[in-house]
């Protein structure tokens, strides 16, 4: 750790991992509800569990991004953070607001929560991923602005590297496109159209800038490759991301009432979306092969390489699988989408956060890298989680293909629930694999407390 103020990243990372555990537990509850429908009903209906599952994911990824920014930016700009106190204050506000929101979801019926929190003044709730009460949404904006102020001021007074500029641009974009979550017209088609401006332009737009900046930072640190080289590839990759991804939004505009030409625009551009992910994989491996130093933190390198590969598989390949309009006509709104969502989010955003945490946490705890046994344990957790997400994806893909076949093709299509009953075996397999994932996560956390072996302190 080169700057004192980087220490504020630590609580952010700890909170991120804590919420990650919560996300997985609720995922397991939902997975079980898929096979035993009345599990925990009516205490935790499926829609509540799902809200908690997806909202926790978003919140912990945001904690990860913010922690990453607080760790990276001082080192990149070679100056202390503008205000570490503000960063800590925002940490507690965000954590408490997040926790209260989750408690609200679990304790109060959603309609009551809505009327308690001013949803009648400005209705924004009840849309997928944007279920947060109005006051939480406003809170997110306030926290994001304070955070951006803090980071931007730091960049302004320090060295302006490409990595810090890209990171900043991604974070500002994140805040700007979140504003569309406040726009909820009574016309459902318009509602959906602009809902994607938050959702798609986040995950296939500005978040990828954040992802790229974080990955580039970790790669510079663990490989020692020249900054010039890494930064110019970063620019090329994120250029490709936005060139393909912005119009790629069109792959969500096939069947929601929007004009037919989106089928062409969406198909053409999103067919190209795997390219930047492929470049990212090649880039990560190339940089590691051309490394000019042997960094003792092998686990961080593994996570960084894993990000490239799994983001390409999950976002690139699994995205492409169902992005062409004639295919999507059949797969839209089935388990195929769920399969893609799981691997893409894990491969891109979960893994890049874990790569950053894996690199930064030892530093924040006063060492260059964890001990050998601790790293071995962490690598085991890498493989357990990664392999289980691959299998979860495969099972869901199989379920999705069967669902399409049974429910949407042939002369005597089955009804929704009848088709679901036929594919139950894959939901069981998915749930069992989910427990393996949890095991990996437990091992991951355990590796932080591993006392065996000597931690490496030499820089």
């Amino acid at each position: 750790m080169q700057f004192q103020s980087q220490a504020v990243a630590k609580p952010y990372f700890i909170a991120a991992i804590g919420l990650f555990v919560g996300q997985i537990l609720f995922g397991l509850i939902m997975g079980y509800q898929y096979v035993v429908g009345d599990f925990l009903f009516p205490a935790i209906p499926f829609n509540v569990a799902r809200m908690v599952h997806t909202n926790l994911l978003i919140v912990w990824l945001l904690f990860g991004f913010m922690g990453a920014a607080y760790y990276m930016i001082p080192e990149e700009t070679e100056t202390e953070l503008f205000s570490p106190k503000l960063a800590l204050l925002m940490f507690w506000i965000f954590l408490v607001a997040g926790a209260l929101t989750i408690v609200g979801y679990l304790m109060v019926p959603y309609a009551t929560l809505a009327s308690m929190t001013g949803n009648d003044i400005l209705p924004t709730m009840g849309r997928e991923f944007l279920e947060q009460p109005l006051i939480t949404k406003v809170g997110i904006v306030i926290v994001a602005l304070a955070f951006l102020f803090n980071i931007s001021m730091t960049v302004l007074k320090g060295r302006k590297t490409s990595i810090s500029l890209v990171m900043l641009l991604g974070l500002w974009g994140l805040a700007v496109f979140f504003l569309f979550s406040f726009y909820n017209p009574s016309n459902l088609v318009l509602d959906k159209y602009f809902w994607w401006w938050t959702v798609h332009l986040w995950v296939e737009g500005v978040w990828e800038l954040i992802l790229g900046a974080m990955l580039a930072f970790v790669l510079i640190k663990v490989t020692g490759v020249d900054r010039e080289v890494i930064e110019k590839w970063l620019y090329i990759i994120i250029a490709m991301t936005l060139i393909t991804g912005i119009i790629g939004t069109g792959h969500h505009y096939f069947w929601i009432g929007t004009p037919e030409y989106w089928q062409w625009f969406g198909s053409v551009f999103s067919a190209l979306e795997p390219i930047p992910f492929f470049m990212m994989t090649v880039f990560a491996f190339n940089m590691v092969n051309r490394r000019r130093r042997e960094h003792p933190n092998k686990a961080a390198t593994l996570w960084a390489l894993g990000t490239g590969v799994m983001a390409f598989l999950g976002a690139g390949v699994w995205g492409f699988l169902h992005t062409l309009a004639p295919v999507n006509f059949f797969t839209h709104g089935t388990q195929v989408t769920a399969a893609h969502g799981h691997m893409a989010f894990y491969g891109a955003y979960v893994m890049v956060n874990l790569a950053m945490i894996s690199y930064a946490m030892p530093m924040l705890r006063g060492r260059t890298a964890n001990s050998g046994p601790a790293q071995t344990m962490e690598m085991w957790s890498f493989w357990l989680m990664t392999v289980s997400i691959v299998f979860i994806t495969l099972f869901l893909t199989a379920a999705g293909i069967l669902q399409v076949w049974l429910q949407r093709m042939g002369s005597t299509p089955l009804g929704f629930m009848a088709a679901q009953d036929q594919i139950m075996i894959f939901y069981w397999l998915r749930e069992i694999t989910g427990f393996v994932f949890l095991l990996g996560l437990v091992l991951y956390i355990w590796s932080f407390f591993c006392k065996k072996g000597e931690a490496q302190t030499a820089a």
């Binding site: 429908g37 009345d38 959603y110 009840g126 459902l188 250029a239 060139i243 912005i246 069947w255 929007t258």
Partner: protein, 141 residues
């Protein structure tokens, strides 16, 4: 000068490409906004439809169902439920939940009034009339 590959040019391409394609996206959005009234039949959005959408949102229906294919995949597609089942069935179904059948997926009881049920149906009816380029592939959704 056998090979030139500068960071400045890479950066220009990033900014230029991003702005260029965002402008194209805005252009297409503009055209979409002009075209939509013919496809979403907004003249049919009555107060009842508006209230129905509000009920849809405040019960977090999207947390289990899909609507025009978007949402959760735990329960049936409702974009075309009006054509599949008809208004009276929808009302009776919502009012009868949960089924309580052991081991089966359960839908909560929302205690909607008759007026609210009518609003819900109005919203689903309007939704089923949106021009979705013939999606879903069949009546089962």
């Amino acid at each position: 000068m056998s090979e030139t590959f500068t960071k400045a040019m890479a950066r220009n391409i990033f900014y230029g490409g991003a702005v260029f394609f965002f402008l194209l996206f805005l252009g297409l959005t503009f055209d979409t906004m002009q075209t939509l009234p013919k496809r979403d039949h907004r003249e049919n959005i009555t107060d009842s439809v508006v209230r129905g959408k509000h009920i849809w949102e405040t019960r977090d229906c999207i947390g289990c169902h899909t609507l025009l294919g978007e949402g959760a995949y735990f329960a049936p597609e409702l974009g075309n439920v009006y054509t599949r089942r008809g208004g009276p069935f929808i009302k009776a179904w919502i009012a009868a939940q949960p089924t309580g059948a052991p081991g089966r997926r359960q839908m909560p009881q929302f205690n909607l009034t008759d007026q609210e049920l009518d609003d819900m149906v109005a919203f689903l009816k309007w939704t089923s009339e949106v021009n979705t380029n013939k999606w879903p592939p069949n009546i089962e959704g």
